[in-house]
Amino acid sequence: MSKLCSLKEAISNYVHDGDTVYCAGFTHLIPFAAGHEIIRQGRRDLTLARATPDLIYDQMVAAGCAKKLIFSYIGNPGVGSLRIVREQLESGQLAWEEYSHFGMIARLQAGAAGLPFASMNQTAAPDLEKNNPNYRRVKDPYTGREVVTLPPLTPDVGIIHVQRADAKGNAHIWGIIGEQKEVAFASKNVIITAEEIVDEDIIRSDPNRTLIPELIVKAVCLVPHCSHPSYTQGYSDRDNSFYLNWDKISEDPAAVKAWLDEWVYGVKDAEEYWQKLGAETHKRLAVKPKFAAPVNYGDY
């Protein structure tokens, strides 16, 4: 049963005001086009969860989509501060829940695994536990020592960009795989955006590469270049100059508004956004191919 639809339809069907949304991807495969579509559709009061909010949440927060942020590191990776998010946190406009990376990922893992809590060893650093009541403790029943716990995180919607998927949602991912698998299994609704939709025989020729199986996927959208200015291993390079540029744009609310008007509200979809970036950018972000060594599964 095909789950193919446009990204517009997928966001319209599965992302609702007030939802907790997790746009997955640690630096790699960040589904920017999905964030932009959420902005265009004017979603409000979202709780945005991501280990690293990255520019995608800076933009969504700037556009007024969010009431709360769940995160473990707020920065413009490799550049510095995430200005809009930071300002809204400092001014109290945006509610937040904070974890370490491990706490964030452990919450997702517990959600994905159907466990009532995640367990972690103590780190000796007291202040996250002190400031976030979700941190609790249980006694290890074998040694009597205390272990730190967190409740599962089960987002309403998980959005995951992948290199290739079949029409049912079986998806191959390679390169950095951060928290994609955990987000997919933890979320109540999973939207897959893919660089390529391929015949299921391609997926089934290498089942160990399938990080996300069809049975947890609600919608599959063909969205090439969805991850710009982040990247897709093998398909595009990271647009570091955009990350550097955003550092300047985001200093000035007027510049941010102008950017959103031009690059989000002013374009119809990801394809128009990509074309608008122009041939020079396309060329700059193109990547020469380099293939993995062949793998023989055998004809059984």
């Binding site: 640690f26 550049v79 501060s81 400092e90 370490s100 990922i105 893992q109 650093a125 951060g178």
Partner: protein, 260 residues
């Protein structure tokens, strides 16, 4: 900032080379971007060819062909020996005890090596909201050894941090030990003036000065009355081969090494 380094090298180069020298061949290092990344690559090209670099994004044995801007750049993956998810990185590698060295930095480091990378002022009503833990809370707890790299400035070295993002020795070595945490805590703080190491109580103490730097400079740039070791060593001068490697191969555009 007081500029103690000679015109032959920048403060960043000085810290980077001294950090590299702390690494041992075969060490498994949890690497951040910036200076730690440069220090590791320098060590790998000099005395520690078997250094294993791990990135929190889930990359093991990376061999970046160029300097990555972010901690999740594609060049970290190409040619790496293994890629896994972040849950695995924090459990199978860090929590399991497979990481020898973690590099840490932050806005504030205090008398007992505690680090603040989260907030200046009150947590609920931040004066300055910093990035937060990322992977550094667990790195500070569980890496066998931690090294801190930071410029020596009074505001960066308060007597007590506003918030503990990564544990040093808390209020003293025994307090850290009482938590039962596995890692050994900070072993050395590398600044542009010299090296600080914890004493038997976990209090940071000046143990070495870089060539040309003075005890006075250290005292002037530390927010508490810092202890001075009975014998303060002098660090070895930077070799031209180290600087050449850094400048010509590892950071040819001077992204991290330029400036101060």
């Amino acid at each position: 900032m007081d500029q103690p380094t000679s015109p032959q090298y920048t403060a960043s180069e000085l810290m980077c080379v001294n950090a590299a020298r702390l690494l041992r061949d075969g060490d498994v290092v949890f690497v951040g971007v910036g200076l730690p990344n440069l220090a590791c690559n320098l060590a790998r090209r000099t005395h520690a060819p078997n250094l294993q670099m791990i990135y929190e994004a889930g990359v093991i044995g990376a061999r970046p062909s160029k300097l990555p801007l972010s901690i999740g750049d594609p060049t970290l993956v190409s040619g790496a020996s293994s890629v896994c998810g972040m849950y695995d990185i924090f459990t199978l590698y860090l929590q399991r005890g497979n990481v020898d060295v973690g590099f840490l930095g932050g806005a504030q480091i205090d008398r007992f090596g505690n680090i603040n990378a989260t907030v200046i002022g009150d947590y609920a009503h931040p004066k300055v909201r910093l990035p937060g833990s990322g992977g550094s809370q667990e790195m500070g707890g569980w890496a066998n050894r931690n090294y801190i790299i930071t410029p020596h400035q009074k505001r960066r070295f308060p007597e007590k941090v506003d918030y503990i993002t990564s544990a040093g020795f808390l209020g003293g070595r025994k307090q850290r030990e009482a938590t039962g945490v596995r890692g050994g805590g900070p072993l050395v703080v590398v600044t542009n003036l010299g090296l600080l190491e914890p004493d038997e109580n976990g209090e940071l103490m000046l143990t070495a000065l870089h060539p040309g730097c003075t005890v006075e400079q250290v005292k002037d740039n530390t927010g508490w009355d810092i202890k001075i070791a009975s014998t303060v060593k002098e660090t070895l001068p930077l070799k031209s081969s180290e600087l050449t490697l850094l400048r010509e191969e590892l950071d040819p555009e001077g992204i991290y090494l330029k400036g101060s």
